[in-house]
């Protein structure tokens, strides 16, 4: 139940984010759309690793080493998401820098104005 809800939310966010990215002509809003979408991806990823009735993959007094395998949820997706988040930030930062650069060239943020290269 829980993972399904989370997953559905995640997918919805992806689609919404993509919709924003595909329809907004403002470059910043496009980038924003992508960040929403990647948040959605992260949610999906984490929800795939979730297992009902288990705890976070940290072994402490509550979760002794011996029954960790029976008590914790899948740690791998979490590790992946961690990486994905950082990478996402990197790409976003890069796109923002590009956006600024584009703005300086044309004094506009309209993506449809940057079409000198085509055909």
């Amino acid at each position: 139940m829980l993972p399904t809800i989370a997953m559905a939310t995640g997918f919805a966010l992806i689609l919404m984010g993509l919709y924003g990215a595909l329809t907004h002509r403002n470059i910043l809003r496009m980038i924003l759309g992508f960040t929403i979408a990647s948040t959605g991806v992260n949610v999906v990823l984490v929800s795939v690793g979730y297992m009902p009735g288990r705890t976070a993959p940290i072994m402490d007094s509550a979760v002794p080493v011996a029954d960790a395998a029976a008590r914790v949820i899948d740690p791998v997706p979490q590790a992946l998401v961690l990486t994905a988040i950082v990478i996402g930030l990197g790409v976003t930062a890069l796109m923002l820098a590009y956006a600024y650069r584009l703005f300086r060239i044309r004094h506009s943020l309209d993506i449809s104005k940057f079409t000198e290269l085509k055909w």
Binding site: M1, L2, P3, I5, A6, A8, T9, A12, L13, M16, G17, Y19, G20, H24, N26, L28, R29, I31, L32, G33, T35, I36, T39, N42, V43, V46, S47, G49, Y50, P52, G53, R54, T55, A56, I58, I73, Q78, V81, L82, I85, V86, G88, L89, T92, A93, L96, A97, A99, Y100, F103, R104, H107, S108, L109
Partner: protein, 86 residues
């Protein structure tokens, strides 16, 4: 826990979708950026519910924090150079 967690998740999920809608529909880019930050913030709570505290921390710090700031920086510079998006 069994019922509470899904309910909370559904609530936050809806909140995220709402925030995302706001981010898409908002007239002002600044508002949209804030709304997107909100999406990330809610997401980090959701991660906590999904038993992923590491992810939650990261999402909060990076996804909602730093990313939003980056946007504002760029937005600020662009505005200062005379762009008006509203």
């Amino acid at each position: 826990m069994t019922l509470l967690a899904p309910l909370a998740a559904a609530g936050f999920g809806l909140a995220m979708i709402g925030a995302a809608l706001m981010a898409l529909r908002a007239r002002s880019t600044a508002v949209a950026v804030l709304a997107a930050g909100l999406v990330s913030l809610f997401a980090s709570v959701l991660f906590l519910i999904l038993a992923a505290p590491d992810v939650a921390m990261t999402e909060a710090a990076i996804g909602s924090g730093l990313t939003t700031f980056l946007f504002f920086y760029v937005l600020g510079r662009i505005r200062r150079e005379g762009y008006d998006d509203d």
